[in-house]
Symmetry: C2
DNA sequence: TCGATTGTCTAGCGGTGCTAGAATCCGGAT
DNA sequence: ATCCGGATTCTAGCACCGCTAGACAATCGA
């Protein structure tokens, strides 16, 4: 039986290699540059091998999205737990979120912009996505205000951050005033 | 000279036809379905004709974006001027914006998501885009608060709306609670 | 009516995501 | 040690994409 186990292990390794390579290529040259041919060449296998692991390019994007969501959740939790008061926590959350979007634009796109074939905001939403939302909600619940549903508040706060992140990255908003925008959002939205 | 004038007129007509057809096709089947072949077939000319009007597909998207921005500006101004008090004006603005995004998703994408080759947030930004932002700012300035720069406030309010619009359309947010999210944004962000 | 210019089309380039079927490798039984 | 059979991987190709060179047709001015 050990032979089969080794094969399974090698297969899992190769799958991780595919996802890591896709992500790397996307961060280096954008998702448009992530073609099945280039990806296959980089992992030193032929194209059809990709399709023995994933249904198609879409699913590879989805895999990157799940990985990214886990990291985003971790980053947010790390940043919020080190802060000492509510206001600092929310500011840290917002800054971490926008930092993540700015430093990993391709991963951010995989999670929030591209079609990775993942179900969102549903019962069968994958755990990493739910958990990323939960990471936001944990902190934001504390500043939602008494008459406001925490989930709804989190959605709105998140949407505001998402708007700033995407509009800034696509050149719709000048990047200089990001900090001031962040302050304004925290000041107005959070009930302290 | 009248022959040349007629030709120019016909050329302009055809250009409008191209933009209108691209827009129609995008709204019906999404931008992915707007291929140069399909577009050429619908306007009953061959592919190269498109390239005598536009540098490429990107510029066609840009043309739709400019048209859409003009309409969005008009819609926002119409909605805000009929309202009687500041709070009603801001609510009308937000609702109109989200309505526009929901009912013309392809046009909204052309303006705010896709690459139409247009310069944003710069001196040479096309007038329709500047004007759409101006339309938002006209109303939002009145509720920015005294210590807040109107431009910055407009950007943040806009980003929040944009976040809700895009996350909702891509299924990241359930569409049912849009009205409550809208109310929350107006309540918290606007200084009345 | 002719020549030149303008306009349009056919055909094709290199690229995309994806897949059928051939070729190869390799573990396990003899 | 050898061979068989199944799993694995590759070659080659599909239909489509954006875009363009060069052939062809239509039209205008002389």
């Amino acid at each position: 039986m050990s032979v089969q186990e080794r094969k399974q292990r090698e297969r899992a390794d190769r799958e991780r290699l595919i996802v890591a390579t896709a992500r790397e290529l996307a961060e280096q040259q954008g998702w448009d540059a992530v073609t099945t041919r280039r990806l296959a060449e980089r992992i030193e296998y032929s194209q059809p091998v990709l399709y023995s692991h994933f249904r198609g390019k879409r699913e590879i994007i989805g895999a990157v999205a799940l990985q990214g969501a886990t990291e985003l959740a971790t980053a947010v939790r790390t940043a919020t737990t080190t802060a000492t008061n509510p206001r600092a926590r929310v500011t840290a959350l917002a800054r971490t979120y926008l930092d993540f979007a700015a430093t990993h634009p391709a991963v951010y796109d995989a999670i929030f912009q591209l079609d990775g074939g993942l179900p969102y905001a549903q019962d069968n939403t994958p755990e990493p996505l739910k958990d990323a939302f939960a990471a936001l909600q944990e902190t934001l619940t504390t500043v939602a205000g008494h008459n406001t549903h925490p989930g709804l508040f989190t959605e709105v706060f998140w949407a505001a951050l998402h708007g700033i992140a995407t509009l800034t990255r696509e050149g719709r908003l000048p990047p200089e005033d990001t900090q001031q925008r962040l302050d304004l959002i925290v000041d107005r939205l959070a009930v302290l």
